[in-house]
Amino acid sequence: MRTSTTTTSSGITLSTKSCRIKFARRFLRSLAEIKKQKRSSASSSEEEICKRSKRIKMAAYSSMARAVGPRMNWSRALLFKLRNRVSYPRLVKKKKRVTVRSNKVPRSKSSVHIDRGNKLRKLVPGGKSMDYICLLEETAHYITCLNTQVKVMQAIADNLSK
């Protein structure tokens, strides 16, 4: 048990550097692609800007998930969701409505832990099908990856805006 946890934690610490480089490369590549597409349709209306920022966000998440690779549950789930969202956008909307309804029902004082666990499950991609222990592990990895993602994006934005 202890050995497994130490390996996972060391894996996280080891993988952050390579992850950062991989993510930066992929993200820059996708940014360049988005630029190319923008040249064809250069408009500055609000909707266009919203769409583009969403595309950049999706590119960031997908490049992060690809940089991590399929060994973590959350990256697999994220890639799966992104693919599904691209192909079936209407299905996702329906699912969203259902989850909103179910959120309002369970609220009791005894199940505070379960409530928070469910919140975490919603935040971490693919967390709905996870064991609680597994969920905590994946959350740790997800947090480190999000941190690196934010740092890299900040650096790119700073570089571009100079």
Binding site: M1, R2, T5, S9, L31, I34, K35, K38, R39, A42, S44, E46, I49, C50, R52, S53, K54, I56, K57, A60, Y61, L78, K81, L82, R85, V92, K93, K95, K96, R97, T99, V100, V112, H113, R116, G117, K119, L120, K122, L123, V124, P125, Y132, I133, L136, T139, A140, Y142, I143, T144, L146, N147, Q149, V150, M153, Q154, I156, A157, L160, S161
Partner: protein
């Protein structure tokens, strides 16, 4: 007290289930022999190979006398007691191969002492209890890292639950180290709240940065030669405006379920 002797052939043919049980329960033999074996095993159990020797011997013995079969099946039903009895006997100096000990209450230890003495002397009276100590040892070895303190339950379910709780607390410690300012917070619920807030803030930050990147990208794209400051300021203002607008849009649930955007949150943590 002596169980009736049955032929080897008839016993093994009649109930093979009991035969397999006899291999699991090492001390299923006739009580007369058991007393002798207890004497020999008392020295031998200190080593790790002592248990195996006993079980091997016993499997051969129970082929000859299958009378212990009925009694063994009773022991199956009373396994709740057996798991408790394991700890007493192991605490009394029968070393397991794993070297793990379970400590129970003092009164229980005393009971165990007296019982062990009785068993070594007569061996016949407390035979079911002595039998029941053996089968649950392999189950105990599954949870090597778990130790039961004084007065803690030692049946397999609570052991598993304790192991799970230890795992969860370890993961929580890792998470606490990851999330800044989470070490001072006491209580699992509050820690979880902090973690959730941190993840939400990070995701919000990603959204904000993507907006910023979009503006920068489009500015560079649309007129890459012009990089005047007023235009940049305009674009920053535009991103701020559109930022609130897009946040409202996400809040309506029309887009991006997987991003779990939170509406109206202040950027205290992101800044």
């Amino acid at each position: 007290m002596d169980p009736p002797l049955i032929n080897e052939a008839s016993f093994s043919a009649a109930n093979p289930a009991a035969y397999s049980l006899a291999e699991i329960w090492p001390f299923g033999g006739e009580p007369g022999r058991l007393g002798l074996r207890m004497g020999s095993l008392g020295g031998g159990l200190g080593e790790s190979s002592g248990n195996r020797d006993g079980s091997l011997e016993e499997s051969t013995v129970t082929e000859q006398s299958g009378g212990g079969g009925g009694r063994k099946r009773k022991d199956v039903s009373s396994e709740d007691e057996s798991s408790k009895m394991v700890s007493t006997s192991s605490a009394n100096g029968l070393k397991n191969s794993s070297g793990k000990r379970m400590k129970l209450e003092g009164s229980r230890n005393e009971n165990g002492n007296s019982k062990a003495e009785v068993e070594t002397s007569s061996g016949a009276d407390d035979k079911p209890e002595e039998q029941s100590t053996k089968p649950s040892e392999p189950a105990k070895q599954d949870y090597i890292h778990v130790r039961a303190r004084r007065g803690q339950a030692t049946d397999s379910h609570s052991l598993a639950e304790r192991a799970r709780r230890e795992k969860i607390s370890e993961r929580m410690k890792i998470l606490q180290d990851l999330v800044p300012g989470c070490n001072k917070v006491i209580g699992k619920a509050l820690v979880l709240d902090e973690i959730i807030n941190y993840i939400q803030s990070l995701q919000r930050q990603v959204e904000f940065l993507s907006l910023k990147l979009e503006s920068v990208n489009s500015r560079v794209n649309m007129n890459p030669t012009i990089e005047a400051f007023p235009s940049k300021d305009q674009f920053d203002a535009a991103t701020l405006l559109f930022g609130s607008h897009t946040a409202r849009e996400y809040g309506q649930g029309s887009q991006a379920e997987w991003l779990h955007m939170q509406v109206g949150g202040s950027f205290e943590r992101t800044a």
